[in-house]
Amino acid sequence: MGLVKPKRSSLGRATRLARLGAGLTGSYLAYQLQRPFLDDREKEVRRQALGRKSARQIREDLQDLRGPIMKVGQALSMQTHLFDADVVQELAGLQMQAPPMHGSLMRAQFKGALGKYPEEVFASFEPEPFAAASLGQVHRAVTKRGEEVAVKIQYPAIREAIETDFRMLRTAGFAARLTGHLKESVIREAERGIIEETDYRIEARNLRHFATQLAPLPFVRVPRVYDDLSCERVLTMSRVRGVRLQEFLETNPPQELRDQIGTGLTRLFFFQLFRIQALHADPHPGNYLLDQDGTIGLVDFGCVKYLKSEIVRCYAQFWSREWTNDPALFAEIIHVIFGPEVSPAEPRVRRCMAEIRSFYDEFHPLDGPSRALDLADSKFMDGLNALAKTLLKNKFLAPDFLFLSRTESGMCNLLHTLQARVATTQIAREWMPPIRKTGQ
């Protein structure tokens, strides 16, 4: 029961899924078979070629299927430790889009969810959506008390469609075939994450949590939830001002404003990371609403990642670099981000850490931390991408850590597009947690 492009039958869909499974089965099987006969270097080359080829195929097939299955791709792309960099990049490019609802369906769904029609509970309600969401659409409305709100309404039976898609995915053998390394537990985890996003009550909870936690940042606006007008499938929240990045750039904002917004976005990132230890996990540009007064509206809390504090503390070390002359600290970092079985003395570990260090030394230097980094600089972006590639290649890295560095990359991409100049090091150090757990 997936959300099919109207012109494709579900039979075609099943066939396609099966082909997806078979295609991967075929190529992976072939790879597995010749494995013992290849030397290590050759193996690596083959694996990469295979990764790229099947990654593109997966992306194209999933893209074509649209529907919830695409969400699977997105979720899998979060499991960065399982795939090659190319696969991850291909998968991350998937954006799900529920089919649009016409007025009659939207009203029916709204009534099914809240017991009344929109026009009965709002003073006014725009029947045309003003934004698309991955699982539905967003409408402008005004409450009976005159407050401007955004009402996110989910396409009906999305959860059932996702469950069906996962069932099909399993039957198609996709899960087992995609590997070697894609375990049932991973699929289950991906499914759980997506299903969670279909429950807007969870998003409402995240919104409340972040609204409280982000209160110390006056330049950030988080929507307020209207509980009596929200449920699993409808989320009513205060409408936040501002426009998406692309639209913002079309107004030709002066450099100072770019810098101000860029600084705000950076502070927002580090405050979440170091203080809240939770990240609004989707650095999708559509989720930041930028205003001419330099403030930032933050929307879309469907996917929030709560981080382990040891991961956060180790990550902070990249910014403070205290490990460079503290072997015990170095060992601790290796333990946390590479895992207990990896020795700090291993050459590949040292190479990886050296690369991290030289990148941070070059672009986020400790001397003169208040110096602004020009994020428009393509040299910086190249360095960042090279580092991301190195990290993604390393299958031993803790998934949470990889997730974190991907989010940082996403943020930098945003700042690059914005062409902002930001004193990154200074901001990072503002809320940095203590190096060691207290009492240690």
């Binding site: 099919v4 009659s104 009906p156 059932e160």
Partner: protein, 220 residues
């Protein structure tokens, strides 16, 4: 529903008025019966209970409805009249694309029957028996059926005129009628909250159907 006060007993009312009164009594009986069906189920409700609740003699009841099927037929007549009246007033829908029109119509029908799910469930399956008065083949239900088919044909004809779909003739309305029966069956067995699975099915199959028609994917 506003109606003139009931004519006093004994006085011979003019014919139009007599019909109106008859209609009113039928509605009273139907309302009583539907409420009892909801409380006690279709089988658990006796004609005695219905007549008592409607405030009429049990013998009189049979003058109006000989069986529960007659009652159901009356229910569907009212439902169809309501639908046609509602559609005539739904200004928003007149310019909507065909899939939305059909969605809105069928959804309106589902909303109408929603409070009486159990009753509908019981009579719906009876209607599949050829000898039932509700069966598409029965003489009693012809008038109702024709009214519905004409209503749907008009809508399809408009869509044909607007070149939304190729000419499909009479068959189109029959197809919509059958489709509606299928949707009701799904709806009756839909355990999802707010029956959203039925909403999704309705939306997607209507879009699929219209797209297929447009592409000439169906050979008539």
């Amino acid at each position: 529903m506003k109606q003139p006060a009931e004519a006093k007993k004994g006085k011979a009312a003019p014919k139009g008025k007599r019909n109106l009164n008859k209609e009113r009594t039928k509605e009273k009986i139907l309302a009583a019966a539907l409420e009892l069906f909801r409380e006690n189920g279709l089988e658990g409700t006796t004609t005695k209970q219905i007549s008592r609740k409607a405030g009429i003699a049990e013998g009189t009841l049979f003058n109006y409805f000989k069986t529960k099927e007659d009652l159901a037929l009356f229910f569907f007549q009212k439902e169809t009249n309501d639908l046609i009246r509602w559609y005539g007033q739904a200004a928003r829908l007149q310019d909507a694309p065909l899939p939305e029109k059909l969605f809105a119509i069928i959804h309106r029908q589902l909303e109408y029957i929603a409070p009486y799910e159990e009753f509908i469930g019981a009579v719906f399956f009876r209607s599949l028996q050829p000898r039932s008065k509700l069966s598409p083949l029965s003489l009693e239900s012809q008038e109702l059926r024709l009214k519905y088919l004409r209503f749907v044909s008009d809508i399809l004809a408009q869509a044909e005129e607007k070149k939304e779909i190729p000419p499909i003739g009479e068959l189109g309305a029959y197809a919509v009628g059958l489709f509606y029966m299928g949707i009701v069956t799904h709806w009756l067995h839909d355990p999802s909250e707010g029956k959203q699975k039925t909403l999704a099915l309705l939306d997607r199959s209507l879009r699929l159907g219209t797209t297929l028609l447009k592409k000439g994917g169906w050979d008539w």
